[in-house]
């Protein structure tokens, strides 16, 4: 319930649009119900007048029918337009809000989102939340208000009639689908879990397709997947059965309301307590009121998954930012010496600490290589330097000042990190390069492109820097993407450059050439190279070898 209110809280800013949309929707629905009811009343009254051989005022009812017809036709159109306008406004706002809330969490508290799976999950969740209003909230409110209006009109004729019709409509149209949805919530949860299982198995088997096929184990795994799918379908079947029950009862509501209206009003007409035309009106009103309930079974079924989506999203938003700016950050010191003093870092849930009691200095202008096996702690050092995380113990200092006390923006302007897995955005190559400094001149851009060894590559592209890259555009090779990442960091002109495995995807010759040019450009400034390849080590001043979060050796490169 709390999640539901929190979800509605997201909609707060658009309360005006939401009310307008519901109002229009209600008017269109009532016009539709009213059209049938008025038509029934009209032809019965006309027939009675015809039989009695008298005339009647047919202008007013005919005008009402015309008016309701116009209201219904136009109302549905405006309903659609306003409903979508409201939804799209919510959508724009929700996305921006969520994104802004994620920024301070990145990247340390969002590490797990790096896997495309969770990211796709996030997108599906947001999509679902956006549709909540259009498919769930609005139909429910409109149905309840329509029910109230119908009940009121019938009550003016007879209390029992009103009570009977309302009871049937509420029971079949509202309560039954709600109960069916509640009954479906447990298989629904099971379904979510089993779908995730299936997906995990599929990803695992696809990733290991090569070994599976080489040892001939694919057939066994394929059959396991087919069985998992079959058990998933069984759960879905149970879910579908409950949903179908709610749906069937929902559709029954109009028919039953009509029968109840007829059964109650026939004696009223017989007793002369109700006029014939009013009976026709009541019958058709009851029948057509059910249309307001048609969307509800699906809407109720969506509640559980919508709340589940909301909870997953809130769980992300509620994560603690790994680093925060001090209220009054210290000004940037003049010095650029880096020192790590007794630094320790332990990732939650890890078997052993990533870094233990690590102490070493990186003086301004030095070239330091961090080497060691994967998992030795090299990238953790990079994360601490860029202050993506704070150490659990010890202190990282820049120019003598603890970097915790400096402004985050200052630190990141001074220390440039080329990450191990750089992301290229769906934009032009030029936009991707200018990411850190949109104001960079073409000359500055050309210079960093040259340093990264991309000049020939860019020259060969028919569209040059305007070439789209990333998901939607041409995908660059791993080596090219890596060099784009190097170029865009160089463009922000950092005083300290951290390169995390820059050679990945590059052939040794290119790697050596790029590294040479980067070192030239960074002359007099600090370069920290994280690598497992030893070919580049002779270009560095010192080599720090890490193993299991500790420094094994810290030697001048000539001694390595």
């Amino acid at each position: 319930m709390r999640d539901l209110f929190r979800l509605l809280g997201l909609y707060r800013r658009h309360v005006g649009w939401i009310f307008l949309s519901m109002l229009v929707s209600l008017v269109a629905t009532l016009a539709n119900v009213g059209l049938m009811a008025a038509s029934g009343w009209f032809i019965t009254a006309m027939a009675a007048a015809g039989l009695a051989g008298v005339t009647m005022n047919y202008f007013t009812p005919a005008a009402i029918i015309r008016g309701l017809a116009i209201l219904r036709t136009g109302g549905r159109y405006i309903d659609r337009v306003v409903g979508h306008e409201a939804t799209l406004r919510l959508l724009a706002d929700t996305r921006t809000h969520l994104f802004a809330r994620m920024v301070p969490l990145a990247p340390a508290a969002l590490d797990d989102l790096r896997s495309g799976d969770l990211l796709a999950r996030l997108k599906a969740d947001i999509d679902r939340l956006e549709l909540t209003f259009l498919r769930l909230l609005s139909p429910l409110v409109v149905a309840v208000l329509t029910l109230a209006a119908v009940g009121l009109v019938l009550f003016l004729h007879d209390g029992l009639l009103s009570a009977g019709v309302l009871a049937v409509l509420a029971a079949c149209g509202l309560l039954a689908p709600a109960l069916a949805a509640a009954a479906a919530s447990s298989p629904g949860r099971e379904l979510t879990a089993r779908s995730a299982d299936l997906r995990r198995l599929v990803v695992d088997d696809l990733s290991g397709l090569m070994p599976l096929m080489v040892v001939g184990a694919f057939v066994g795994h394929r059959n396991r997947l087919v069985e998992t799918m079959a058990s998933l379908v069984e759960i879905e079947r149970r879910l579908a059965r409950r949903a179908a029950l709610g749906q069937a009862l929902g559709r029954l509501s109009g028919d039953l309301a009509l029968i109840v209206a007829l059964a109650v009003s026939v004696p009223l007409v017989t007793a002369g307590r109700m006029a014939g035309p009013d009976m026709a009106m009541a019958a058709l009103l009851s029948l057509s009121a059910a249309e307001a309930f048609m969307g509800l079974p699906a809407a109720f079924l969506g509640v559980a998954s919508t709340l589940a989506s909301a909870r997953r999203l809130f769980a992300i938003l509620d994560r603690k930012p790994p680093v925060t700016d001090r209220a009054a950050p210290k000004p940037m010191p003049d010095g650029r010496d880096i020192s790590l003093d007794g630094v320790a870092l332990h990732y939650p849930g890890a078997i052993r600490p990533a870094l233990e009691n690590m102490t070493f200095d990186i003086p301004r202008g030095s070239r330091v290589a961090l080497v060691g096996e994967s998992g030795a702690g090299k990238s953790s050092v990079a994360a601490l330097l860029a202050r993506l995380r704070d150490p659990d113990a010890g202190e990282v200092r820049l120019g003598g000042t603890p970097i915790k006390e400096l402004a985050l923006a200052d630190v990141r302007r001074t220390i440039g990190v080329v990450a191990q897995k750089p992301h290229l955005f769906t934009a032009t190559l030029g936009d991707n390069l200018r990411l850190g400094r949109p104001s960079a001149t073409d000359e500055e851009l050309a210079a960093v492109i040259d340093v990264a060894g991309l000049s020939d590559f860019v020259a060969r592209l028919p569209q040059g820097l305007a070439t789209p890259v990333g998901v939607a555009g041409t995908t660059l090779s791993g080596g090219e993407a890596r060099r784009v990442a190097i170029a865009r960091v160089l463009l922000i002109d950092p005083d300290i450059l951290v390169l995390d495995e820059p050679g990945e995807g590059l052939d040794p010759e290119t790697e050596a050439a790029v590294l040479d040019r980067v070192l030239d450009r960074m002359d007099g400034r600090t370069v920290i190279l994280i690598t497992h390849a030893r070919a580049a080590l002779h270009r560095m001043d010192r080599v720090v070898e890490l193993d299991a979060g500790r420094i094994v050796s810290n030697l001048p490169s000539s001694a390595v």
């Binding site: 017809a69 994104f99 799918m229 749906q247 029954l252």
Partner: protein, 573 residues
């Protein structure tokens, strides 16, 4: 007809009987509604104009109740059938997709992100469901009910039938026109929502880079602007698109209003019986209802077609031709021979261009060359994950194409550069469904020691991608997998490339033991590996440029000698 629609119809053909039942249910539900309209008119007529009391109309009310219940039961059953049809189609499709995955094999699939393929296998398969559960029943109702209602109205009131009939031929025309424009608009709407989602996803995926480059705040306002821009653009399209729905709504509404008013006056003039007039009025909305339903279910069809498109594309990927059927069995070591072999990845480029060489049984071969030279293509060809476009590959003197691939693969141990471990126990990762001695394999791979230290030993469950193990430990488990059933042919892609010197020594020793007395082909990046080989194959741009003993080639001063200078000196540092 487009590919995705063909796929959906193919799938329907396999469940034809159930589909027929599904369509029949949708039609029956509608026809019962027509009968109910006749009965309802009779009850009101009897009570208002013939003084009937409750007892007199009770039998008709009972019939109405029966029809209502029957309708509900049919609707319920129809939904079950719809689910069953879709489930059957999805399950057979899922199995077909898995078989296609096997036919494509890991090499042809390597160009596609695993997540994309997984989405095709899971989400896209679920995505075709609405086609049967929503779209097909709606089309059946549209095909039958308006005509049925028209036929029912003719004997009741032919003038009203004329009004209905006049709009009837407009309907198919209208459906096509409105359908097309609505579909286009819908597609644009969904496409722009997808683009917007894509933009957000892109921004979240790259958030680390944005933060590091100090561009995050700018991106927040960009996300806001983009979302707002999409809203404006989308609404512009939608305002027009909804006009087609407006026309449909207009038809339905006006026919009710016109029918009501016309009938009203004819009743006043005594030209028509009340019961007939009321029947027609009750049938008027039902006449247009199927079409309106079809309009709302168009989304369902579009979603299904979009999913089917993805599936059809995947199934249309060219896979391997069927493997041969001759059994293959070899004992200690096998020979491999390439005769003028050319191969590519279907992009028109040859990754391997007329390559010939022979590997004698028990020989240790190193393959060197710049990236893209065709090194891994050779290994993929031997393992049968790729077929030559020209030339012949002989294993132990027999053409690979005629051999049973599963048999051949059983004779291959494959060690990739990056270890892959399943989300399963250590023992399961080593055995992979085969029977044998896991502990022995772990000992042989020098993995017994660290496995013994894991909380549950060989039964410890590894996380996704072997989480928690170091690179060297993972490689040793891969080796144990190879030792578990020693194969006479060892294919390796420099499995020690990502290891540090000390670990490399341990793993290298185990590898040497594995390859002892067996045929081995290794893609080499390290000097040490090359020097240890009996013979070296030097590739460049898909061609074999040099071949010979490492010392011979070094002395020759050709391509190999130049290449040596760039090789990683490895543990020598």
């Amino acid at each position: 007809m487009s590919k995705p629609e063909t796929l959906l119809e193919d799938l329907s053909a396999s469940v034809r009987k159930e589909t027929a039942l599904l369509l029949a249910a949708a039609v029956a539900e509608g026809l019962l509604g027509v009968i109910a309209a006749f009965l309802t008119a009779r009850v009101i007529d009897a009570a208002v104009f013939h003084g009937a009391d409750l007892a007199a109309v009770l039998p008709v009310l009972a019939k109405l109740l029966g029809i209502a219940l029957l309708k509900a039961v049919i609707g319920y059953a129809g939904a079950q059938v719809g689910f069953a049809v879709a489930a059957k189609a999805r399950q057979s499709l899922f199995a077909r997709l898995l078989d296609h995955v096997a036919a494509l094999g890991p090499v042809r699939l390597s160009g596609t992100a695993t997540g994309d393929v997984a989405t095709t296998l899971t989400d896209a398969v679920s995505g075709i469901e609405p086609y049967w559960r929503q779209w097909l029943p709606a089309t059946a109702a549209v095909a039958v009910l308006p005509v049925a209602i028209l036929l029912a109205v003719v004997p009741v009131d032919w003038r009203s039938a004329v009004v209905f009939a006049a709009t009837l031929p407009l309907l198919p025309l209208f459906m096509v026109l409105a359908g097309r424009s609505a579909e286009r608009a819908n597609q644009r709407q969904w496409a722009s929502m997808a683009r917007l989602g894509g933009h957000l996803l892109d921004a979240v995926a790259g958030l680390a880079d944005l933060v590091l480059l100090g561009a995050a705040r700018r991106e927040v306002s960009l996300v806001a602007r983009t979302a707002d821009g999409y809203r404006r653009e989308t609404m512009k399209v939608l305002r027009l698109a909804f006009l087609s729905a407006l026309v449909l709504e207009f038809f339905a509404t006006v026919s009710i209003a016109v029918t009501a008013v016309l009938i009203g006056f004819r009743l006043l003039w005594g030209e028509i019986a009340f019961v007939d007039g009321l029947t027609v009025l009750l049938l008027a909305p039902a006449f247009y209802a199927p079409l309106r339903t079809l309009g709302t279910e168009r989304h369902a069809r579009m979603e299904a077609v979009a999913a089917a498109e993805r599936l059809a594309d995947f199934l249309a990927r060219p896979a391997s031709r069927r493997s041969g059927s001759e059994p293959f069995a070899a004992t200690k070591a096998v020979s491999v021979r390439f005769e003028n072999v050319s191969a590519g990845y279907g992009d028109g480029r040859l990754a391997l261009d007329g390559v010939s060489f022979e590997v004698r049984a028990g020989e240790q071969i190193a393959i060197v060359g710049e990236s893209g030279a065709g090194k891994s293509t050779i290994l993929s060809l031997i393992a049968g994950f790729l077929e030559p476009e020209a030339g012949t590959i002989l294993i132990d003197g027999r053409p690979l194409a005629s051999l049973d691939l599963a048999d051949v693969r059983r004779h291959i141990a494959f060690l990739p550069q990056r270890a892959f471990l399943f989300d399963a126990s250590v023992a399961e990762n080593v055995a992979m469904g085969r029977s044998g001695d896991v502990m022995m394999a772990l000992r042989a791979a020098r993995a017994d020691e660290f496995v013994g230290r894991l909380p549950n030993g060989a039964d410890s469950r590894l996380g996704e991608g072997g989480a928690g193990l170091s690179g060297g430990e993972m490689q040793r488990l891969m080796l144990a997998r190879a030792f578990f059933a020693p194969a006479p042919l060892v294919l390796m892609d420099e499995p020690t490339a990502h290891l540090d010197a000390a670990t490399e020594a341990v793993v290298g020793e185990a590898i040497a033991k594995l390859a002892d007395g067996r045929t081995r082909l290794t893609i080499a990046h390290r000097l040490k590996t090359v020097e240890a080989a009996d013979r070296v194959l030097v590739l460049s741009a898909g061609r074999l440029v040099e071949e010979g003993r490492p010392d011979e080639l070094t002395a020759r001063g050709g391509a190999f000698a130049t290449m040596l200078a760039t090789l990683d000196v490895g543990g020598a540092a």
